[in-house]
């Protein structure tokens, strides 16, 4: 069923709870050393986390915030285990952006029910791409449509990998997946750093991504994404192709063809308030711009320079 991580050094010491969860088909991950189990959560995230409030050195808060701020893990359900005293004093939910809480005296039946509910809720809202864990098309549509109705100028940018098909043909799908994951990590980290909560990234599918940032950040973000991509892509190519500077392959007719090495293209559509009313219009501006940027050699970005005609 699900992998459940327990970081509850003062509770769940009896084997009963663990046994009950395992009897329900869950896998329980636990480690007596709190620092080590938290590190494990990042290296190999579970499907659900139960964490005790008030860990040493505020590690509980640090980890919850880090997970919830991680664009790829924001949907991971976190249940906070609290004492009666916490409930009496009250909790500052901005420091604890968790999904639910469990009282330390809760019965095993209640704990199991809360776990099932949290997992069910996640399944209901998630349209995330299984490979990158990024939001998929219905979330993209919703988020961008929502943004068009706001007052701040934003940029919507479409990212895709050039010559991805020849890459896949040459190295196989699993290495192709690595490149897609690499691009998603770069986007997540650069956008997180420059735009924080004001940014959004979605995975349209395959090698196509879309992101949104405040308009004034767009060029810096694009620049840095391309710099990082260019620094990393050689690690995903074989020495031989790097030296040749292109992929050489034979097509179905037996003709030898060469393709340029994998690069990245970004088409940026500035969205001033009132210019676009529907997501579809943004997408069609992007489509024609994308053709232009993809025609350029290597990794590039282009910003749509047509003046918005605001009446």
């Amino acid at each position: 069923m699900a992998r459940i991580a327990l970081v509850t050094p003062d509770h769940f010491k009896r084997a009963d709870e663990k046994l009950c969860l395992e009897a329900r088909g869950h896998t329980v991950v636990t480690n007596a050393d709190v620092a080590r189990s938290l590190e494990g959560i990042l290296a190999d995230p579970p499907d659900l986390l139960i964490i005790q409030k008030g860990l040493h050195r505020h590690m509980d808060q640090e980890v919850i915030l880090a997970l919830k701020n991680n664009l790829q893990l924001a949907l991971l359900p976190i249940l906070l285990m609290v004492s009666e005293r916490d409930l009496a004093v009250g909790l500052d939910w901005s420091c604890y952006p968790v999904d639910d809480l469990i009282s330390e005296h809760a019965t095993i039946e209640e704990i199991i029910t809360r776990i099932d509910l949290a997992l069910a809720r996640t399944r209901r809202v998630a349209d995330n791409n299984p490979l990158t864990k990024l939001p998929g098309n219905s979330s993209i549509l919703k988020t961008i449509q929502n943004m068009l109705e706001q007052a701040e100028p934003r940029a919507v940018a479409y990212v895709d990998i050039d010559n991805f098909k020849p890459y896949n043909d040459r190295y196989g799908f699993s290495r192709g997946d690595e490149v897609i994951r690499m691009v998603s990590r770069i986007l997540v980290n650069v956008i997180q750093e420059h735009a924080g909560a004001g940014g959004f990234i979605g995975h349209i599918g395959g090698d196509d991504f879309v992101f949104m940032v405040p308009l004034e950040k767009a060029e810096t973000v694009c620049q840095e994404v391309l710099t990082n991509f260019n620094a990393l892509i050689p690690l995903f190519l074989d020495e031989k192709d790097l030296e040749a500077g292109c992929f050489v392959s034979t097509d179905r007719q037996g003709n030898v063809r060469s393709f340029p090495l994998t690069s990245l293209s970004i088409a940026v559509v500035p969205c001033h308030p009132g210019h676009y009313s529907h997501y579809g219009e943004v997408a069609s501006t992007a489509a024609s711009l994308k053709k232009k940027v993809k025609a350029l050699e290597g990794s590039n970005f282009l910003v749509d320079r047509r003046k918005p005609d605001i009446d």
């Binding site: 990042l42 991680n70 690595e178 994951r181 980290n189 997180q192 620094a231």
Partner: protein, 285 residues
């Protein structure tokens, strides 16, 4: 028998402790609003334990770049600030820091610096990767120190009394040397082979199944940095240089002179850094 037992115990090693002053310095940095992942990286890449943790994470199945990432700067681009911050706040420290811990820290840092300079002299494409191999070449010693402290003390004591090299005593007592221990762990953590082999073969570089040039550079840098007396590599003597490995590198006299001058300058800078770290350590204790 002992050897198999150690292999089994290595399977459970998920993370290693590091020096308290480094961790407290990084913890101070993460609470500063202007700090960036790149700034944290500049400290992380000076510590062999944190560097190997970072590489373990980025090469893990969740991040999905198995055996592909071999440098701190590339790992940082892929992991991002939040992950690095969490790695720092959850990192464990040696409860009691010994003088030899600082010595090994300095030795590793010196070896990384020397290896990076040699790689540049030889025109190797990615000198940062060679430098990383130099930094973490003694990972096996940290494993012994942290996970098998009794065995570690026994080895150190026997080596001192019998006036033998540590790695020889390790083989006699444990049936396995620190090079191999480090190699097993690095492989278990999915690090790229271009790092695994130099760790495993830094005392016998010509046995390295691949990346023999990098293994030779690490072997040479390890010896050079001991000869210069920077840090403490675990033995009071400088081990002999492998002739075949040297033939593989073969720096000319003028290249060698240049290398020593550059290294001298870099080691002075490092000395400032390691003194700072030790001072911070005393302040916070």
């Amino acid at each position: 028998m002992k050897r198999e037992e150690i292999r089994q115990r290595l399977k459970d090693v998920q993370s290693l402790p590091t020096l308290p002053p480094i961790v407290s310095k990084l913890n101070q940095m993460v609470s500063d609003e202007d700090v960036t992942a790149v700034k944290l990286g500049r400290i992380i890449e000076k510590d062999q334990v944190l560097t190997s943790k970072l590489l373990k994470m980025v090469n893990s199945s969740f991040f999905g770049f198995p055996q592909r990432i071999s440098t701190v700067s590339n790992a940082i681009v892929l992991l991002g600030f939040n992950v690095i911050k969490t790695l720092i706040v959850t990192s464990s420290i040696f409860e009691v820091m010994q003088a030899s811990d600082i010595g090994l820290f300095e030795h590793s840092l010196g070896c990384a610096t020397a290896a990076g300079l040699v790689a540049k002299k030889l025109g190797i494409k990615n000198p940062e990767e060679v430098s990383t191999a130099g930094l973490i070449h003694d990972l096996g010693k940290i494993v012994l120190r942290a996970e098998m402290p009794e065995e570690y003390d026994q080895v150190a004591e026997t080596a001192r009394q019998a006036k033998q090299y540590m790695r020889e005593v390790e083989k006699e007592i444990l049936g396995i040397g620190h090079g191999e221990i480090g190699g097993i762990l690095a492989r278990q953590w999915n690090l790229p082979e271009r790092l695994v082999f130099p760790i495993e073969y830094h005392h016998r570089p010509e046995a390295s199944p691949d990346f023999a040039e990098v293994s030779a550079i690490i072997h040479f840098s390890d010896i050079l940095i001991r000869a210069l007396g920077f840090g403490f590599g675990g033995d009071p003597w400088v081990p002999p240089l492998d002739h075949q490995a040297w033939a593989r590198i073969k720096l000319g006299k003028s290249q060698m002179r240049q290398l020593l001058e550059e290294l001298d300058e870099k080691l002075m800078e490092l000395q400032d850094f390691t003194l700072d770290i030790q001072k911070d350590g005393k302040d916070s204790s």
